[in-house]
């Protein structure tokens, strides 16, 4: 029911946005929507496992990311308001329209309990993302948008074929109901060849959303061309959407005979993603692209940890949440940086620490957190990952360790150019950034740091329910 109300409200608000687009009331309306979003996620959190409109369920996995989404969309909204100060009314209304649309679509992706429905909403995210990416309306954004929309659509079409295969040979006697629970049953009796093919196609297709190898490139272009708050949104909430859509299918398949094979494929994909991010970080000339590559890196790590069974899923969730916080914070900061230095380019911009010390320190902190150096919470998850790799997968352990070191080197060398390097042209600090713009990053980083020392129980329980761990593995290392 509430889902329906939510959809209706969303529709209503977007209609109003369209209607008032001349009046320039769109920010207000979008604010209202964000409020609705937050209320909705809280509602969802209060009554768990509620089934809505037959296709949506508020299970633990969706709840985690709904809460996350409400955080991120609030922050993104706040930043976009200041970002769009001097945008045209039409541009604003279009922007907020797509913003609302993508929020709705993501909510759909998170909560969908049906493989096809999830697919539909994924496609919707692509389409609504187009409006956000192309906001600047210059050549770069146009190119990025075209590539993003096109390749995402192709990928998702391929994923659809995969889904068809997966559900194909369930043989007679099985309901054509495509909800994940029933799929879990169906897959047990599906021809493994088909299943493998399906998994492969789905992985390849959704990789465009998850920003992992092979279709990671478009995500990077999108992050680069989009406005900074949007990049923050894309590389966290949207990526999480792709991750959920994939993980649900993965978990449905993991009971079957091909699970070992899947693990290996995941490890290969993860390592390849790590590799490409390590490679391109040495080359990146642009701050936002650098951050985008670090997203690729983290998703690669997450895929690897997915292949490690239940605890692996726990690790993946943990890392994904923290990554969302830190990465979005970094992108917001990069927006402020662009206001100050007028450029993202490493060889143009520089001396940020001198020009804007607070921002500089925030950037430094974010850089430290994203490279999983304590007190970053990601360190915990990577520690657990290494621990898991430690029993049996020493080769992967070594590969991951080496690549992570390279990535760390890349991030630090590149970022230090911006932070401490000499700018080739020094802009007088024209815009005085108001303090509240830093608050989002400070809070997010604070959360990420706090996670290193303490996990709130409800979150811990959510993760446990998702990964189906229960009590049998001892997480007492979180005791402090």
């Amino acid at each position: 029911m509430s889902m329906g109300i939510y959809f209706i409200l969303a529709l209503l608000i977007s209609a109003l946005v369209l209607f008032f687009s001349k009046k320039g009331k769109s920010p207000l309306l979008a604010g209202v929507f964000v409020f609705v979003q937050i209320i909705f996620s809280l509602y969802a959190f209060i009554n768990k496992d509620l089934k809505e409109l037959q296709y949506f369920t508020f299970d633990a996995l969706s709840l985690v990311f709904l809460l996350l989404l409400s955080f991120i969309s609030l922050a993104t909204f706040a930043h976009s308001v200041s970002y769009l100060k001097d945008a045209s009314k039409r541009g604003k209304s279009l922007f907020y329209l797509s913003f609302i649309a993508i929020n709705v679509a993501l909510t759909g992706v998170y909560t969908a309990n049906n493989i096809i429905v999830a697919w539909i909403f994924i496609e919707l995210t692509t389409l609504s993302a187009a409006g956000l990416i192309n906001h600047n309306r210059n050549m770069n954004s146009l190119e990025a948008t075209w590539k993003y929309v096109f390749i995402c659509s192709v990928g998702i079409a391929i994923a659809y074929i995969g889904i068809l295969f997966a559900s194909a040979t369930a043989g007679a006697g099985y309901s054509s109901d495509m909800s994940f629970q029933s799929l879990q049953e169906i897959f047990k009796h599906t021809n493994p060849v088909f299943l493998k093919l399906a998994f492969l196609l789905i992985l390849a297709g959704y990789s465009s959303k998850m920003e992992v190898f092979p279709l990671y490139t478009i995500g990077i272009d999108a992050n680069y061309a989009a406005p900074a708050p949007v990049s923050a949104f894309l590389s966290t909430a949207l990526v999480n959407g792709g991750f959920i859509a994939f993980t649900r299918i993965f978990m449905a398949m993991s009971g079957t005979s091909i699970s070992l094979w899947m693990d290996k494929v995941l490890i290969i994909t993860g390592i390849l993603s790590l590799l490409v991010s390590a490679i391109y970080m040495q080359k990146a000339k642009n701050l936002k692209r650098l951050f985008a590559y670090s997203t690729v890196e983290h998703l690669g790590i997450i895929l690897i940890s997915l292949s490690l069974g239940k605890i692996g899923i726990y690790i993946a969730l943990f890392q994904l949440c923290l990554h969302s916080f830190i990465k979005s914070g970094l992108f917001y900061q990069s927006g402020i940086l662009h206001q100050v230095l007028k450029s993202y380019k490493f060889h143009k911009a520089g001396g940020y620490m001198k020009i804007n010390p607070l921002g500089g320190i925030i950037l430094l902190t974010g850089m430290i957190l994203i490279t999983a150096i304590p007190p970053s919470g990601i360190f915990i998850s990577e520690f657990m990952l290494f621990r898991e790799l430690g029993n049996g997968h020493w080769i992967i352990f070594i590969i991951v360790a080496v690549l992570i070191s390279f990535i760390m080197y890349g991030i630090f060398t590149k970022n230090s150019l911006i932070l401490f390097g000499e700018p080739d042209v020094i802009h007088p600090k024209s815009v005085k950034t108001p303090f509240w713009e830093y608050i989002t990053q400070l809070t997010f980083f604070a959360i990420a740091i706090a996670a290193c020392f303490y996990i709130p129980d409800f979150l811990n329980n959510l993760f446990k329910t998702v990964s189906g761990i229960g009590g049998e593995i001892d997480l007492s290392i979180f005791n402090f």
């Binding site: 478009i218 040495q282 005791n479």
Partner: protein, 631 residues
């Protein structure tokens, strides 16, 4: 506000420590909470003492040292710097306290991180950032080594912790895990081949930071090695021997490189490597002694190592601080541009002299005591041990002797060139004596330096307690064989001092009525002497450089004369000595790898079709792998 935090943190910890130190090992076990895995035995307590003292002096010194920067750097950056000092202090203390891997790793990385922020304080000096990042990444790699060792050793345990080591070491060969640990901690401590970050990081950092880092932070690598050593069960002989030899190489390499340096802080950094080598010798001896069940050797070795850790933290920080005062005044680290500073900054000169004497291991200063302990361990080994172990001991003892001699050569050079004679170049402004805070800090260090030198027993007894508590050794024997000679050493030192006093009195009496005339330096009949003709550091070590040329190349760069120039223009010439180990072992492979990565980046064409093709190729790859049963 930062200041308050720091002060309170010390007052708390300083109050806490002596109880820990003297009292038996205490062991919080209240369920849950941060104290769940904290355990403070005597070893930790000992290191905490060192940390507190050095950080205290470092902080006092920093107050004076950072004054000139206050207006040049953004205030928030200075704040961050102080914050990092506090963080470094706390994390170092926590490192000594934590036993479980996660907590240990977190604080270990925090330590690296805060020191990184401290190192890049002078970020607008070119190269500083690069050095800092290099340091950070190397430490990260070291962390991964330690992590892998811990994970490997606590295989199948609920909680990864150092406490699992004893179990693992009982049932498995010790050396592989120990090797991993040694690499991991050795990277922090700066052993040979693992040292490459060290000679850069110390000069790049401001002096109080170098003092703290070289004084205590790299010692935590030693702490880690000792901690792991306490759990060792078998392979002791092999491990001990290899550690001994490796440390000997480290020591000799460090001091050999140090002599050739003309950047004063780089020189001191190489000396840290040397001293780490000496400490490592002590540890190796200790392990070896345990292996052969000869407790005198082991006790003397471990005690020597611990005492030298303490001593080195003292005199090395003293040296860094005093050199820092010099650098602050004349804005260069090149010794060739200094000279005659004793007349301007006499106290700093005195402090440096004491530090130099101590680090050269000369009586009656503390450096001698710890080296004496290690020596006595050696000679005990000589008097009663097997054939091969005698050769081992003998060779490494001789290397220790060499280290001593070389250190003397090095520090006579530094002190002579920097403080004595005349200024070789004109200083841009008259150097002034260091400000109050810095002097106080140096005084604070000088006191224990001399005290330990005169009353070694006072320092050695507690350390022997630590050794007896932590390592398996016999209290009686150690008391008998180790403390007794030290007693006579202190007697000798007393006599020496008394005699010194008497002689000064005598000199005073003699010169009371005599005429003291001041004349120019005698130039052997050559009258037009000027400061440019003084002996330089390069020429001082030239013979030595020729001697060791096979091992360490020293190159010159100069501009050759061409035939066509009738009136040759100005020429410039300077000699340099480069750390081949660093070039060959670290830089080349690293750059090689990075270049490979760069080359691999051609795949990103920006063409949409290619991206789709990659997806296809990925599918095909997986198909093939599956088809060929590879996965």
């Amino acid at each position: 506000m930062i200041f308050n935090i720091v002060v309170s943190s010390w007052i708390g910890i300083n109050a806490l420590i002596p109880r820990l130190f003297l009292g038996t090992a205490m062991n919080f076990k209240n369920p849950g909470g941060v104290f769940n895995y904290i355990e403070c035995d005597k070893l930790s307590a000992f290191f905490i003492l060192i940390i507190n003292f050095t950080v205290l002096t470092g902080f006092i010194y920093a107050g004076g040292y950072l004054k000139p920067y206050l207006n040049r750097k953004p205030a928030s950056w200075i704040k961050l710097h102080y914050l990092a000092i506090v963080l470094l202090h706390l994390s170092m203390i926590m490192v000594t306290l934590f036993r479980n891997a996660l907590g240990f790793m977190i604080v270990w990385e925090l330590m690296t991180l805060s020191s990184f922020i401290l190192v890049i304080f002078d970020y607008d000096v070119t190269g500083t950032i690069k050095i800092g990042i290099n340091y950070l990444v190397q430490m990260h790699i070291g962390m991964l080594f330690i992590l892998s060792a811990l994970i490997m050793s606590s295989h199948g345990c609920q909680i990864i912790s150092f406490d699992n080591l004893s179990g693992w070491f009982c049932n498995n060969p010790n050396w592989p895990v120990y090797l991993l640990f040694f690499i991991g901690f050795g990277l922090k401590a700066g052993f040979f081949l693992l040292h490459t970050w060290l000679p850069d990081a110390h000069p790049a950092a401001p002096s109080h930071v170098s003092g703290m880092m070289s004084g205590v932070m790299i010692k935590l690598g030693i702490y880690g090695i000792l901690r792991v050593t306490t759990y060792l069960q078998n392979d002791l002989q092999a491990i001990g021997a290899s550690v001994l030899v490796f440390s000997a190489i480290t020591g000799i390499f460090g001091v050999m490189m140090a002599i050739l340096q003309h950047d004063i802080k780089k020189l001191l950094a190489y000396h840290s490597i040397e001293n780490i080598g000496i400490i490592g010798m002590g540890i190796g001896l200790g392990i070896f002694g345990e292996a052969t069940g000869n407790y005198i050797i082991s006790a003397a070795g471990f005690a020597g190592a611990l005492l030298h850790t303490l001593n080195h933290s003292l005199f090395k920080s003293l040296l860094f601080y005093s050199s820092g005062s010099v650098i602050q005044q004349i804005h260069t680290r090149n010794v060739e541009r200094m000279g005659g500073l004793i007349k301007f900054m006499s106290f700093t000169a005195g402090a440096f002299l004491i530090g130099a004497l101590a680090i050269s291991g000369l009586p009656p200063f503390n450096g001698f005591v710890s080296e004496f302990l290690i020596y006595s361990s050696f000679i005990h080994g000589l008097t009663g041990a097997g054939f091969y172990s005698i050769i081992l001991f003998f060779v490494s003892m001789i290397s220790l002797v060499l280290i001593g001699g070389l250190a003397l050569l090095c520090f006579t050079k530094v002190f002579g060139i920097v403080f004595l004679g005349q200024a070789r170049f004109k200083y841009e402004h008259e150097p002034k004596e260091a400000s109050g805070g810095m002097i106080v800090a140096e005084l604070l260090i000088i006191v224990p330096v001399i005290l330990i030198g005169i009353l070694p027993v006072m320092a050695t007894k507690p350390i022997l307690n630590v050794v007896n508590a932590v390592f398996s050794s016999d209290a009686r024997i150690s008391q008998l064989n180790i403390v007794a000679p030290l007693k006579s050493v202190s007697v000798a030192a007393m006599i020496f001092l008394i005699f010194l006093g008497v002689m000064f009195l005598l000199r005073y009496l003699v010169f009371r009525k005599k005429t003291i005339t001041i004349a120019p330096t005698w130039g052997c009949g050559y009258t037009a002497v000027d400061e440019k003709q003084q002996y330089t550091a390069t020429s001082f070590v030239q013979e030595y450089a020729e001697l060791i040329n096979p091992f360490i190349k020293t190159g010159n760069t100069d501009v050759k004369f061409t035939s066509d120039e009738i009136f040759p223009g100005s020429r410039e010439f300077h000699s340099h000595s480069d750390d081949n180990i660093r070039l060959k072992v670290i830089n080349r492979p690293a750059t090689f790898m990075v270049n490979i990565l760069r080359k691999a980046a051609v795949f990103q064409t920006g063409k949409l079709q290619h991206y789709v093709l990659y997806a296809l190729l990925f599918l095909v790859l997986i198909f093939l792998l599956t088809y060929l049963k590879l996965i």
